[in-house]
């Protein structure tokens, strides 16, 4: 049982974690999600007493970590796979940790076997691959047979066999009644491993709910509707009809329509009523990944931009307009996800930021456009559709 109350951590002017409160219960795998730099590792370090919270507190089984009398026997942690002295054998590394908490040396050989490192036990960990380092870190966490386990990005660098092993290991540990807290940004992995999710963005709690609830709260299941590509006017007709009926219609890049808020039979009926033929009408359930992206898209700190390679090009003499080059749609950027449907409880703390009126997308309006350039290169769909505003 891990309990955080009003956890806040500031490094100078930067607030890494702000007013975070959550509970991690035993018996389930709890996933800890958030974009890079959202404060996951800082929170993990505060749980383990490595960093002192600026305000608030976090306890494990009712005690702050640094007050535990024999911490490794109660809490096992994998923080950083490379947090070992590279010059030491794997076995000696584990042995010195075991001795700190009075664990006998034969337990070291036992956990080396559990993680499959017995053959390299006498090899210096400097030569370990990232995956082997992760296994060594997991071995260190398991050393004390603890009731609470924390793993920070445990599957980083593991091969598929290793990922499957970690997944099963966590489920097994949780089924034994242990508290398992796993941070990751691999959504697909969390979807398979975790039952409960704690999501943070920019150091604040975004969600604390079961995986199933999380997906249904943060993803609008939608229907994909495709009208004959040969007749674009049918598409507009259908869009009008669906919108009129209360549906939310978004165009997709390949010309299909994404319809939310209307059941499939109703869409079919409306299409029939509008005399529009359909080439596709398919239901889509959002994945955890999509739900996560939708929730955190406003809280992402580090975004990539398209590489224009302008720095490599020859400087043109002043006054000459360079040939405008436009990035391919979506290049370097994840797709933008539509906002979730209105939620009954709680406001979304991170609504996608609206573009400032004075500072539009740098690609959207080049100062002097060649006449042939598309109006908005980021939007490949025809401009007459109700395209969502670009969030960037």
């Amino acid at each position: 049982m891990i309990e955080a109350v009003g956890l806040t951590k500031r490094y100078g002017a930067k607030t890494a974690v702000y007013n975070l409160s959550f509970q991690v219960r035993p018996g389930t795998v709890t996933g800890f999600l958030g974009p890079n730099g959202s404060g996951k590792s800082t929170t993990m370090r505060m749980i383990l007493g490595l960093d002192q919270p600026t305000t608030g507190q976090v306890t494990i089984g009712g005690y702050p970590y640094r007050k535990l009398s024999n911490a490794p026997r109660q809490v096992g942690a994998l923080l950083d796979a490379k947090a070992v002295h590279g010059g030491r054998h794997a076995r000696n590394h584990l042995l010195c940790l075991a001795q700190l908490s009075g664990i006998p040396a034969r337990r070291v050989d036992e956990v080396l076997g559990v993680v499959g490192l017995q053959d390299v036990a006498k090899k210096r960990s400097k030569g370990f691959s990232l995956g082997m380092g992760q296994r060594l870190g997991i071995a260190a966490a398991l050393l004390g047979d603890p009731q609470v386990l924390l793993f920070d990005e445990p599957v980083n660098g593991l091969d598929p066999e290793g990922i499957l092993w970690v997944r099963n290991l966590m489920k097994q540990l949780a089924s034994e009644g242990r508290t398992v807290f796993v941070s990751s940004h691999l959504m697909s992995e969390m979807a398979l491993t975790a039952e409960h999710l704690i999501v943070i963005g920019r150091g604040q709690l975004l969600a604390d709910m079961s995986v199933r609830d999380f997906i249904s709260h943060n993803s609008a299941d939608f229907a994909r509707v495709r009208t004959p590509a040969t007749e674009p006017q049918q598409r507009e007709k259908l869009t009008a009809a669906l919108t009129e009926a209360g549906g939310q219609v978004l165009p997709e890049q390949d010309g299909a329509l994404r319809v939310m808020g209307l059941p499939l039979p109703r869409i079919s009926d409306l299409a029939h009523g509008a005399d529009v033929r359909l080439w596709e009408l398919s239901p889509h359930q959002a994945s955890l990944e999509e739900a996560y992206m939708r929730m955190t898209q406003g809280a992402v700190d580090y975004r990539s931009t398209a590489d224009q390679r302008a720095g490599l090009q020859q400087q043109l003499p002043p006054g000459v307009m360079p040939q405008q080059q436009f990035p391919a749609p979506g290049q370097g950027q994840p797709d933008w996800y539509a906002p979730p449907p209105p939620q009954p409880q709680g406001a979304q703390p991170y609504a996608p930021p609206q573009p400032a009126p004075g500072g539009p997308n740098p690609y959207a309006a080049p100062p002097q456009q060649p006449p042939t350039a598309p109006a908005a290169p980021a939007a490949p769909a025809p401009a007459d559709l109700n395209k969502p505003e670009d969030p960037r």
């Binding site: 219960r25 018996g27 389930t28 370090r45 009398s69 024999n70 490379k82 947090a83 010195c96 908490s101």
Partner: protein, 285 residues
């Protein structure tokens, strides 16, 4: 420094926290293996494993032994019997120690700063949140190792020199004290390095700081005595710098046995260790 609150046994956590867990699927896990209370002995065993399982220990101590024993034998062979009428038999070790002390300083710094450099410190402090205990164990283990190695090598040099030189009035000076004081001095320098390494958390920075601390006071007086205002300071530095202190301990200075120099280093080391303890508990890792 905080001591853990009295807890009868960690199993007692379960009933205490049980109300919070109601409704959770499954029940809380309790390890069938009894949990022992940790103490300094565990940390000492751990640090002993650590110090003997890295190559830097072998290298630094190996070079130390090479310098002290090799240098000692060389000096011993070059000196005459008559020299030992007013010099202790351990004097040849002094030359080797002048360079060898840098090895012990390096090892002392590395004992802590290598953990910060590799990130191992997070693993260590996760395994033992009682940071003061880990640090105390580091100091004790390092001091013991370096004292035994340095005292042993000084003693060996003394015995070899005694076997090589004899004559009327030669070896009348008792040299047992020089073995103890010499080993204590260089080991304390190493502990000072360990404390500085813990405060600076950076191997190269801490080693440089320690070299400055050892070497600058023996160079600066040359310039300080020029000016009248700093003459006093220069003279004190001359008297208490590490090189001169070792010279006094080994009787090269005549008369003084270096007692006050050893005490000064004890004081400086104690202050640095205290500072390191305070920072250790306060800072984030």
């Amino acid at each position: 420094m905080t001591t853990p609150p009295p807890q009868p046994a960690p199993q007692a956590y379960a009933p205490q926290s049980a109300p919070n867990w109601q409704g959770a699927p499954g029940t809380s896990y309790t390890s069938p293996i009894p949990v022992t209370r940790t103490h300094l002995g565990h940390a000492l065993a751990s640090e002993w494993t650590k110090i003997k399982s890295v190559r830097s220990t072998v290298w630094t101590l190996g070079i130390f032994l090479f310098l002290v024993l090799g240098g000692g034998l060389l000096v011993s062979a070059q000196t005459e019997d008559l020299n030992y009428r007013d010099l202790p038999f351990t004097f040849p070790a002094f030359i080797g120690l002048l360079l060898g002390q840098i090895c012990l300083i390096t090892l002392g710094v590395l004992v802590t700063s290598s953990e910060y450099g590799t990130g191992m410190i997070r693993t260590t402090f996760t395994a033992s949140p009682q940071r003061y205990r880990v640090f105390a164990a580091k100091i004790l283990v390092f001091f013991t190792v370096s004292f035994i190695v340095s005292a042993g090598s000084i003693l060996l040099v003394g015995l070899l020199t005694a076997s090589m030189h004899s004559g009327p009035g030669v070896g009348d000076l008792s040299w047992g004290g020089t073995v103890f004081k010499g080993a204590l001095y260089v080991s304390l320098l190493g502990v000072l390095g360990l404390a500085v390494g813990s405060m600076l958390r950076h191997s190269a920075g801490a080693i440089t700081a320690m070299l400055g601390l050892v070497l600058l006071p023996s160079i600066l007086p040359v310039f300080l005595v020029i000016s009248r205002s700093t003459q006093k300071l220069g003279e004190k530095m001359q008297e208490y710098n590490a090189i001169n202190s070792l010279a006094k301990i080994f009787g090269a200075d005549g008369g003084s046995s270096g007692g006050s120099q050893v005490w000064l280093l004890v004081g400086v080391t104690a202050a640095a260790v205290a500072g390191a303890f305070v920072l250790l508990e306060r800072r984030d890792v």
